[in-house]
């Protein structure tokens, strides 16, 4: 009963109750971590939905590829122009990079930061995206049965894609590096200065550097530094030339190396352990990476 004496109708009462339940569930989910009941429920739902999603994906993929191609025709001209400019710029840069490569190789040898060419990987196909336009996730058709565990890096031929944050026996969820909750320790190849790349929720990344004594040049390659992801994976390219205005702190926009809208197959780096890395993560859903922890959906 309202103070005015008007009785709450049944649908309004149900609405308030459901809203309260929703808030309680969300609070519980945020507060819990690791193998909590909500993580298990989510993994179970993912396991149940995966075969249906894979079937739908297989059926509609050719058709949507055709439709997608048509819808992208308008943007192809601009893209072509942009790529031509990119090729010219890269040709110029190629001349400059040989000296830099030698320098980087020496630094990598000193710091024991070998590129991850020899790391074991598991190839997986992406069959689903997030359920809303806000989500920066992809689901892949390989899981704990294939040696995948939470925390592993996911790459494609272009560079870093993201990080495994939920695993079932036959599928896994990848949180893309464009997600604002994902941060990647990086270094700029030109200068070897380190920083942190964070997702912005759109197609670009944000690079924060705290000891930038040299400017970051447009097109500079940004690589993982080996703190949480294997070292030497290309994350992206600096979008602008910028130097620190005050002190040595610098913020630069980075163009991701990977084309997230065209992801199809990816590789999960299973042959590198982040056990020694700082596993603190801002996302409560993301468990500390470990090769020994119990796996969701496992026996």
């Amino acid at each position: 009963m309202f103070p005015s004496g008007r009785r709450l109708d049944r649908s309004t009462a149900l609405f308030i109750t459901l809203l309260a339940v929703g808030f309680l569930i969300a609070t519980f989910d945020v507060r819990s971590s690791g193998d909590s009941v909500t993580t298990v429920i989510r993994g179970g739902a993912q396991t149940l939905a995966a075969p249906i999603q894979e079937a739908i994906d297989l059926v509609v993929r050719p058709a949507v590829g055709f439709v997608d191609g048509i819808s992208n025709v308008a943007g192809l001209s601009d893209q072509n122009e942009r790529l031509e400019g990119e090729v010219r710029r890269l040709e110029q840069r190629l001349l400059e990079t040989s000296a830099l490569e030698r320098r980087v190789a020496e630094l990598e040898a000193i710091n024991d930061l070998a590129p991850p060419e020899d790391l074991a990987t598991v190839t997986a196909r992406i069959y689903s995206a997030g359920a809303s336009t806000f989500d920066q996730i992809r689901l892949i058709n390989r899981g704990s049965d294939n040696g995948i565990v939470v925390g592993q890096a996911v790459v494609d031929e272009d560079g870093l894609i993201g990080r495994i944050d939920l695993v079932t026996k036959s599928s896994a969820r990848v949180r893309l590096i464009t997600d604002p909750l994902v941060s990647v320790g990086v270094r700029v190849q030109d200068t070897n200065h380190t920083g942190v790349v964070t997702g912005r929720g759109d197609d670009l990344l944000r690079l924060d550097m705290f000891d930038a004594t040299e400017p970051v040049r447009e097109g500079a390659v940004v690589l993982t530094d080996g703190s949480l992801f294997p070292p030497g994976i290309v994350v992206g390219f600096a979008d602008e030339t910028k130097s620190a205005d005050v002190g040595f702190a610098l913020r630069v926009t980075v163009d991701p190396a990977a084309a997230f809208s065209q992801l199809d197959f990816v590789k999960v780096v299973v042959g590198w352990s982040p056990l020694d890395a700082d596993v603190e993560d801002r996302d409560p859903l993301v468990k500390a990476p470990s090769f020994t922890e119990p796996r969701l959906g496992g026996a």
């Binding site: 929703g22 995206a129 997030g130």
Partner: protein, 167 residues
């Protein structure tokens, strides 16, 4: 009859969410996808009894929560809010296709904003994203485009009584 209608309605929302996660991972004009699950909830709120519509919205939203990256309960709450508002406006003296399409657009915007606010409150940092406005309004436009087939589908599957707020 009642439980059968609710089960069918739930099936529609689940199917919409599954299509959202598969088909619309490829088709994303301008980088955005429609909010198909929300559109189905809006359409079902036109045809179901109030309690049924709220239950279907909450359960369907919870299913979307399970397949998304945000904390559980956020989409459930969002869909419930959208269904509740849709229930409140459906019996008003508004009729005709433009009114329905405007309603779909407005309800989707309200839903996206509600989720953004809830998501931000629960640590997802949605509101300060650079393309936040696009994430709110572009899916609403796509929902308008998809409204007619979804309204037709819900109409033929849950067999509604006559309403003034019809497509």
């Amino acid at each position: 009859m009642t439980s059968g209608k609710v089960i069918i309605a739930l099936g529609l929302v689940v199917a919409a969410v599954l299509i959202q996660t598969t088909v619309f991972q490829h088709i994303r004009p301008l980088g955005y996808a429609p909010a198909l699950g929300m559109l189905t909830v809006i359409a079902l709120s036109r045809f179901l009894d109030p309690e049924q519509a709220l239950f279907v919205a909450f359960t369907g939203g919870f299913f979307q929560d399970l397949l998304s990256a945000s904390p559980l309960g956020l989409w459930a709450s969002t869909f419930t809010v959208v269904a509740f508002i849709a229930l409140k406006v459906r019996d008003r003296e508004i009729a005709g296709t433009p009114a329905v399409l405007l309603g779909v657009f407005g309800l989707t915007v309200i839903g996206q904003l509600t989720y953004a606010v809830l998501g931000t409150l629960f640590g997802q940092g949605i509101i300060n994203r650079p393309e936040f406005i696009g994430h709110v309004f572009v899916p609403a436009l796509y929902n308008v485009v998809l409204a007619y087939p979804i309204f037709w589908l819900t109409k033929v599957t849950v067999r509604p009584p006559e309403r003034t707020w019809a497509a």
